[in-house]
């Protein structure tokens, strides 16, 4: 357990130090969402119909922003070799790093979303459901992204390839998550969002660890 805590604490420290990119995802999220009223126009009715979808799409892109460095920085400075030899399974390492990514990128989005919802005239009744959907759905974004990051770890400028690989996999979370904030009965969509996340949490560490092993060669 102390090894797991050490990895998670290091992930958080690295993300919060300069160049770590923890604030970057949040800043991108806020900027992207605030651009929408300029494009769609200030009409509250029109904005409120696209509010939930806009927030969700912006959240997907913001989560993707710092994912390409998830394993690449460690691979470049030799840390990944040492971690692969450490008495901690690679699957656990992946899960810890993805958790660190969610804590520094996904969680700030969940917290910022209600404020940004106001600027997009999101109906007040929908705000709790949007937040609940984001809270349940964003862990899946980090863990699916970890698989993509593990596959592209050896590729220079793999960030673009990563987005092409990962964004299609985000579609179920996007559909159910956005639906939870707009449907008259949000429960089924919300539960399905959680279900997708559970499936991803169970499978992604193994897929990402397998990809890392191939890339270590």
């Amino acid at each position: 357990m102390s090894a797991a805590r050490a990895v998670l604490a290091r992930e958080l420290a690295l993300a919060l130090r300069s160049g770590g990119g923890a604030g970057l995802g949040l800043a991108f999220f806020v900027t992207a969402v605030l651009l929408v009223p300029f494009g769609v126009g200030p009409d509250p009715d029109r904005l409120s119909t696209v509010a939930a979808g806009t927030l969700w799409v912006a959240a997907l892109l913001a989560a993707l922003l710092s994912l390409d460095r998830l394993f690449q920085a460690d691979a470049e400075d030799g840390t990944l070799d040492q971690l692969a030899l450490a008495p901690l399974p690679l699957e656990a390492l992946v899960a810890l790093k993805a958790t660190g990514h969610w804590l520094t990128t996904g969680l700030p989005l969940v917290i910022a979303a209600p404020v940004l919802g106001v600027t997009l005239s999101l109906p007040p009744g929908a705000t709790p459901w949007l937040v609940a959907g984001l809270a349940l759905g964003t862990p899946a974004l980090s863990f699916l992204g970890a698989v993509g990051a593990a596959i592209t770890v050896g590729i220079r400028r793999g960030g673009l390839l990563l987005s092409i690989l990962v964004l299609p996999l985000y579609v179920p979370t996007l559909i159910f998550g956005a639906r939870a904030a707009t449907a008259t009965d949000p429960w089924p969509a919300l539960l399905l969002t959680g279900g997708v996340t559970l499936l991803v949490l169970a499978g992604a560490p193994f897929a990402a660890a397998a990809a890392l092993r191939v890339n270590l060669r």
């Binding site: 090894a3 990895v7 420290a13 770590g20 470049e76 692969a84 030899l85 450490a86």
Partner: protein, 215 residues
């Protein structure tokens, strides 16, 4: 008992670099690995560490070395020092101490890092970064050390510290395989010579075009 290697072969990028390599390093002995650039020294060390898939047998204490055995018994120091530039020297060592076990104080002191312990690692010179990478060896005791050109960028004091570390390690019954070009100051109990010709021959034999089997 120590480390025993038999019929080891290893391919990189589809080409065979090592073929039918066999040697043994008993407990308490130091093997020096020599060979020109491209002879496969780093490949051999990475294969021994379990970072590269390989054919043949690698045994530690008579047992085939699986991942668990290697993570408990093997320490590897490669060309890259696994230093995080954003963290300070003490934080870098502290992370590995918590992950691998062991106490960071003696490891920092042994390589003369105590005076720069609070400095961010991105300000370190190449030699200081290498010392920081080598300090990881002293954290948790690992029986088998695999060192890939550990003396690169080290000054005389750090070379001496490394020499002491390797001697103490061998005296405590550990084994070390050290790839190096220059004199390292450690008496070599065993010499392993890799030649560029052997690497080339292995490559040719593994390539159906070069071996002429398609002619």
């Amino acid at each position: 008992m120590g480390l025993r290697v038999d019929a080891l072969s290893c391919a990189r990028g589809g080409r065979l670099v090592l073929r039918d390599l066999a040697f043994a390093v008993p407990d308490g002995q130091v093997a020096i690995l020599r060979g020109p650039n491209g002879a496969g020294k780093s490949t051999l060390l990475r294969a021994l560490a379990g970072l590269l898939p390989h054919g043949g047998v690698v045994e530690i204490d008579g047992q085939p070395a699986d991942r668990d055995a290697r993570s408990e018994l093997v320490a590897y120091a490669g060309h890259l020092d696994a230093v995080k530039p954003q963290l300070t020297v003490a934080e870098n060592v502290g992370f590995w101490a918590r992950l691998l076990g062991g106490d960071r104080g003696p490891a920092i002191a042994a390589f003369g890092l105590d005076r720069i312990a609070d400095r961010p690692a991105h300000l370190l010179s190449a030699g200081q970064r290498r010392r920081l990478g080598l300090a990881r060896l002293l954290l948790a005791p690992r029986r088998i050390w695999l060192l890939d050109e550990p003396t690169v960028a080290l000054d005389a004091d750090a070379m001496l510290a490394l020499l002491h570390a390797v001697r103490d390690h061998a005296a405590a019954g550990g084994t070390a395989v050290i790839a190096t070009h220059g004199p390292i100051g450690v008496p070599a109990d065993i010499r392993i010579e890799l030649s560029a010709e052997a690497a080339h021959a292995a490559e040719a034999a593994s390539d159906p075009f070069l071996a002429g089997s398609w002619a």
